[in-house]
Assembly symmetry: C2
Amino acid sequence: MRSEDIEDYAKGSTNAHKMAAKQQEISVTEFFEKNKQILGFDSRSKSLLMGIKEAVDNALDACEEAGFLPDIHVRVERFQEDDEYRITVEDNGPGIIHKMMPNVFGRLLYGSRFHALRQSRGQQGIGISATVMYGNITTGKPAHIESKIEGNDEVAWKMDITIDTKTNRPIVTNDTAFAHEGWEHGTKIEYTTKGRYITGRQSIFEYLRNTAIVNPHAKVEFHDPEGKKYIFERATEQMPPKSKEVKPHPEGMEIGDLMKYVQNTQQKTVRAFLKSDFSRITDRIAEEVLEKAGVNPSAKPSSLKREDCKAIIGAITQVKIMAPPTDCLSPIGDTLIKKGLMHILDGMKPEYYATPVTRPPKAVNGNPFVVEAGIVYGGEIPSDGQVTILRFANRVPLLYQQGACTITKAISEVDWRRYGLEQRGGKGIPFGPAIILVHVASTKVPFTSEGKEAIASFPELQGEVEQALRLCARNLKSHLNKMERKSKTHAKFEIVQELIPAMANKTSSMLGRPVPDLSGTISKIMNVVWVEPGVKKGGKNVLTVNYTVYNYTTQERTLRLHAHLPKECVNLTLFTNPNFIDMNDEGKTTWEIKSLLPSSSTIISFELKGDMADTFDADDIYISGINPVLVMGAEALPGDWGIKGLDITESDESIAAYEEEEIEEAEDLGEE
Amino acid sequence: MRSEDIEDYAKGSTNAHKMAAKQQEISVTEFFEKNKQILGFDSRSKSLLMGIKEAVDNALDACEEAGFLPDIHVRVERFQEDDEYRITVEDNGPGIIHKMMPNVFGRLLYGSRFHALRQSRGQQGIGISATVMYGNITTGKPAHIESKIEGNDEVAWKMDITIDTKTNRPIVTNDTAFAHEGWEHGTKIEYTTKGRYITGRQSIFEYLRNTAIVNPHAKVEFHDPEGKKYIFERATEQMPPKSKEVKPHPEGMEIGDLMKYVQNTQQKTVRAFLKSDFSRITDRIAEEVLEKAGVNPSAKPSSLKREDCKAIIGAITQVKIMAPPTDCLSPIGDTLIKKGLMHILDGMKPEYYATPVTRPPKAVNGNPFVVEAGIVYGGEIPSDGQVTILRFANRVPLLYQQGACTITKAISEVDWRRYGLEQRGGKGIPFGPAIILVHVASTKVPFTSEGKEAIASFPELQGEVEQALRLCARNLKSHLNKMERKSKTHAKFEIVQELIPAMANKTSSMLGRPVPDLSGTISKIMNVVWVEPGVKKGGKNVLTVNYTVYNYTTQERTLRLHAHLPKECVNLTLFTNPNFIDMNDEGKTTWEIKSLLPSSSTIISFELKGDMADTFDADDIYISGINPVLVMGAEALPGDWGIKGLDITESDESIAAYEEEEIEEAEDLGEE
């Protein structure tokens, strides 16, 4: 219709006609070509990173989907002339079938993960094609793709791809099959792009390093433009659990969404529609919802009017529906977060890795999400500036747009002074020798733009991040407290143990009388049960742990010890220990010491062996069944530790106090 | 092709086949429907604002394009039930022709301004359709549109519009012509949406108020949900100059862009192509570029290879090409910025409106842009927190994502301690009683997302913002300095004028001798030429300005006075003043006082009349032709004042010092 219309309008005399003559469709490719910054391609340095990020994200997604431990090679080469770079990213993923290669790399808004409700890095079907487009715009050269799928009989394919920006369709040249000895399967992209290679906080190196932290199952090799090679080795052979596709959760659904679902469903009745097209809706719940909504369960879905849909939406908020399923998500888990952080940060010799926190799943707009947080403290981490923030979304590091991200806003909202960090006025990014890690995993991370650099500030999401941070910060704080108390008591202990015998000796010798037995006296003065952890490294991945428990009180003492062990690392030595009582599914372990006599001691000893052994922090030891005021070197078992049947009435009251404060703060939560 | 392919792939046994079966196109509407936060529709409160913003932006664009002074009505009504609101935005624009109404409101990526290189608020063809879509998703109701184009014979049309998200096409119902007595032309949109009505910094009221600041030619009426009515009256009847469409500027063009242009040009030779398809390329420049590039000027454009294009791009950087034309831009201008700020902020009785700065145009990626900055200081502006930042892009206030915006980053990079504001460590948002306004006008503002909430950090752009801020801050600082010096000298002056005569009287009476003439003595002690501004308001929009110049030195003095007057407000009283010398196009005015005798004074007096009269600050008075150290109450004429033929060798050296520091700082400019 366009051309004759335009002529018509141009003839029209009014302003409206003149404007109408200019109205036209905007191709999505043209839109992004002229708004490259929205895709994250603004400065040359950032653009160089963006492309690599998109390629590596895709490689990791593909490997995990196929169940292969990722092995990824990244190479950045500088051309002699000007600011052109050649980037190569190669993976050992399942490969892409020949016919699909052009669309995957040469068409925006095309992909396999957009419609699937499960956690993945790529979701938009934009990133890698945008990379191809940017490379082509800035250098005029196509991208070169090679791929080989599984199977001995399959050949590999290679081709050059660019995008036709008018039509958003791939243009393919040099499409060739070839044999590649020893290539089992995988994909390789090689493209040229203008860029600027930088080092530091927002560098490619930093991105790959942070990727290794949250993807401890991946091996990443990086060749920088100087020809230097860096290898981030796998920290574990354990693949993350594969995330499953789920149906939408009814909570937070908009009326417009429901109106669309009822038109598109295959089901014949509203009851069947609710049950089969959503997660967590049973027959009983469907009945209950429809009764409250006043809708006939046997009605045809397509017969529902706007008012019916509105009533159903209203009823859903009143009926108790199970939280969204979580097998669509793949959080990293506290042990692996710690392992990843240690793997990368050990050079800084941090004083303490606060036990990371993985929150229970919630949903925002029907999309389940999980928040995880970790804090690393002290050692050689610089202490004079703001803390370092490591942001991650679906296991991808976010290096840009820190100020725009809900994670940063959440960090600014927590009062860190309470947890031992400096913070002016109790707001803003805190100062001190700490690294704060936050990971948001979701079936759809709500990024602020297609560049996927920052997470939008939905109140529910930001609140969860704050909660995770407070819980993790509390772990840090209780460690700092414990260390302080311990060092004070240690000092006192040393004085008592040296001074009293010396005084006794002196007095005795002056009086010419025998030196008395002093252990009772020392116990009277100290009046503590002393728990002393000891750790010995016995070769790679072997740890021998000893807990020596001294009774420096004047009575017999019975108590239980608790520690969270990396389950896969324990062996017979744990179970044969006479004090051992139980280990649960998570590796939370209980020992009991019965009737420990005054002035006597006992040792609990066991071995940890394997990849995760070094994530165990022997200082994280808890006690129950005894007044915690009497114990030095171990904390009272927290109320949320989650082992049933244990007497935890003596648990630290300060935790309850924290919780209250947290609830108050959570209620204050504003928007942006 | 899809369905049979999917079956094929699903049969395949490899991971690659399974994945291929899921690959599919993503409709742009579905993409944005599932990523509403990218469009700015995340929290309910923000969504409510976003829709109004899009509608008002469109209304202002349409009025300006047609040359009508905008008259805009915004109404927000709350429904009794739940959190549904009805929004109405009505304008007196040129209207939309009947056939175009569905596409304008019911189709994403459709519009008249995307391909045009000129300043406008809407550029993406997304905003208003996204508003219609969000209203429909959250309430299930269509938007209702009415429009009437110019012409007495024309009828008005109304219709209901929703978007088919699968196809990204409008669905129209109730399409009806109607007669509307007294409606000359205009457009009205009425839609329902879920939302949350908030007050404060990110409210609809604040958005409209800030819109009024930078659009002093618009009248905006607002009815809030309580039924209260607010009117932001027009501050001026003067329409902003209409921005013209330009061709792309060759600077900063990417090779891929050029390769596309050569394929699409109508021109027969490369020479003609360069000259006609770009701005600022003359025959001579085309020849020079092509010679340097080694390309035959008579070659057919489509025959150019990648290497030729690369050579041309290289040559363009070596040939001096005029800066981009600026009639595609419509900056607000310093006077109108001040007027707008005064209009809105006078309730806070600020101590000083620092003379706003409009920078010369630059280009980023071939798109011309201009940066403007203003600072308001003191009075009842709160002094205990961070300064308030007012961000604007193409005359639209930006209320969200402050942390993500290049304007905020630029403010954080300026060392404000140097200009009289508090700032910890010389970095970050400063503290103090100030409001900082920054306006970026461009043919394509590089927003970080489709929600148009923050401007991306291109180094060239951020550098310009920093420069504008420093220049404006210098105006503030020199005012603060002048005020401080003036108050000190005033004190001294009062003492001298009271004390000396009193002493003389006393001594004379004691000695019985006549009181001597003291004017020479006072001059000797003071040794200044005193410039005293005086302003009298004579009814609405009339200002009588007096400058009294006293010579308290011991010699005859000749000097020139300079002030920047609102040109359209001067009248005969200015030109008939015997000291008047000249007024240039911008209103910069010069007077000369010849041979003013010691201990004598003279008065320069004139009247300002009109809208802009009150934007004149009589304290902003400059001198030349005299050693500025001798003058109190007026500053040395700055070197960049821009009046030729004046002796400005005595100009304040501190300015040069500032400039040097600025250059250093500009060189330090990092990214993000």
